[in-house]
Structure formats: structure tokens, C-alpha cells
């Protein structure tokens, strides 16, 4: 029986198809009986899904910061 630590590690590896058939089976068996790792599995999906939206931001540099850069470039 694999441990919770291994199971959660396998969950990330599974995303990339990096598990052997035996490892997939071991993960499946673990998830069948372990509520916490089942939760982790679902929460991991939520994290992965929402991480991609982090690449967008509407932040911008202030006028002073831009002027600072311009000054550095003109030196």
C-alpha cells in the first residue's frame, strides 16, 4: 500500500502520464480508501485549473518607475 505522501506525488505525475500501470493501480487503490487524498486530488484539479489565470495581470508600472527606466537607458 502506498502512503499519502506517495499518493499525492503520484497525482502530479499522473497529470503528465508519468505513472506505470502498477503505479496507476496503486494510486487508484489508495484513493478508493483514503478520503483525504481524494480531497487532495480534487483540490489539486482546482489549483491547476485556476493557476493558468494567474498569468494575466492588469498591473502596470507607475509614471515615476517608467521615467526611472528611461533615465537609466539614457545614461
Amino acid at each position: 500500500m502506498i502512503s499519502c505522501k506517495e499518493a499525492t506525488d503520484f497525482i502530479s505525475k499522473k497529470e503528465e502520464g508519468k505513472l506505470t500501470i502498477m503505479q496507476r493501480y496503486a494510486l487508484w487503490r489508495h484513493l478508493l480508501i483514503c478520503t483525504m487524498c481524494r480531497l487532495f486530488n480534487l483540490q489539486n484539479k482546482t489549483i491547476v485549473k485556476n493557476a493558468s489565470t494567474l498569468r494575466e495581470t492588469d498591473a502596470s508600472l507607475t509614471r515615476e518607475e517608467k521615467d526611472g527606466i528611461i533615465q537609466t537607458l539614457n545614461q
Partner: protein
């Protein structure tokens, strides 16, 4: 190069570059420095700029390389540390079971769907900030930029086993932080 209008260059492209850099390094000052370094390199190498590429893409390529360089430095600092750091982490007991304070709680949401609230992303960013630089680097490369693990290992010159340790720690830490600061708040 006196023909380059640096003011226009910065006004036109600095925000675009900054918006790319910021979520990937998660530090305002560092992101700003990377943008400035990008312009410095661009002006220094303006002779190698080929007019058929768009200026925007050329600047973005320079910036991406700067970000990777930054990640690489974090990776170099890490490699000696990971080897000595014995595999202790606070989320699991020695036998690999969840440690009691780290038991995942039910978030009571439709799992796997997009969360639309803007505040959620501030919390997510805050939690990302708590990651170690190198954990942040691998997480960003993998989940913001969709690079696969083999390529990340190659670019950062880390072993596959180091990579999986880093991703695992980044995720368990993010999960716990999001749970505390958003889902069960």
C-alpha cells in the same frame, strides 16, 4: 544608438513586459528590474535585431530569457541544499501519512472549476509568494506556461527527482495556504 527613442520605447512596451514578468517572479521590484534589464540588453544588441521580427516579440524573447536566467540562479542555490535537507516536511508524518494539522478539509465547492472572484486571485498570489523561489519557478513554468517537466528539468538543469519534490512541496503548500486563507475562512 541615437536613432532609438528610448522614451517611446519604454512608454510603448514597459507595461506589456511588466505584466508578463510580474506573475512569473511574483515580486514587483524584481519584475521592474527584469523589464529594465530587458531594455538595456535590447539597446545594447540593437544591431542583432532583425526588422522582420516584431519589436514586441523580440523584447518578449529577451525578457523570457532573463526570467529563465533568474530561475536558473535559484536552481543553482537549491541543488546543494536539497541534497542535505532530509526529506522532512510538515505536511506528512515520517511514515508518509498526512500529519494531523495538515489533514485536507472539504472546500465545499464544485471542484476543478474556475473561481471567478477577483479576491480569490489576490489570495492565490499571496500564497504563491510564500513559496520558495525555486518552487515558485517550477510551479510557474509548469502551470502558468504549460512547459512539461522534462523541458523544465533541462532548462533549469535539475534532476527529475528534484523536480517532483519541488512540485509536490509547492502544491501541498499552496493547497494548505488556499484552504486557510480562502476556502475555510
Amino acid at each position: 544608438m541615437s536613432t532609438i527613442d528610448t522614451t517611446a520605447l519604454v512608454n510603448d512596451y514597459s507595461d506589456l513586459l511588466y505584466r508578463f514578468a510580474l506573475p512569473r517572479v511574483n515580486d514587483k521590484d524584481l519584475a521592474k528590474d527584469l523589464v529594465q534589464d530587458t531594455f538595456v540588453s535590447a539597446l545594447k544588441n540593437i544591431d542583432s535585431y532583425k526588422a522582420e521580427a516584431s519589436l514586441k516579440n523580440w523584447l518578449m524573447t529577451i525578457l523570457k530569457n532573463k526570467i529563465i536566467d533568474h530561475y536558473r540562479k535559484a536552481a543553482t542555490r537549491l541543488t546543494d541544499r536539497l541534497a542535505t535537507e532530509n526529506d522532512s516536511d510538515s505536511f506528512f508524518e515520517g511514515d508518509g501519512h498526512w500529519s494531523k494539522p495538515a489533514y485536507p478539509k472539504d472546500w465545499a465547492i464544485p471542484y476543478g472549476s474556475r473561481i471567478e472572484q477577483k479576491e480569490f486571485y489576490s489570495v492565490f498570489e499571496l500564497c504563491m509568494k510564500k513559496l520558495k523561489e525555486i518552487q515558485h519557478a517550477v510551479f510557474s513554468m509548469k502551470y502558468l506556461d504549460d512547459i512539461d517537466s522534462d523541458e523544465i528539468c533541462k532548462q533549469l538543469n535539475i534532476t527529475a527527482s528534484n523536480y517532483w519534490v519541488l512540485i509536490h512541496r509547492a502544491k501541498t503548500q499552496l493547497r494548505s495556504c488556499l484552504e486557510k486563507n480562502w476556502f475555510t475562512k
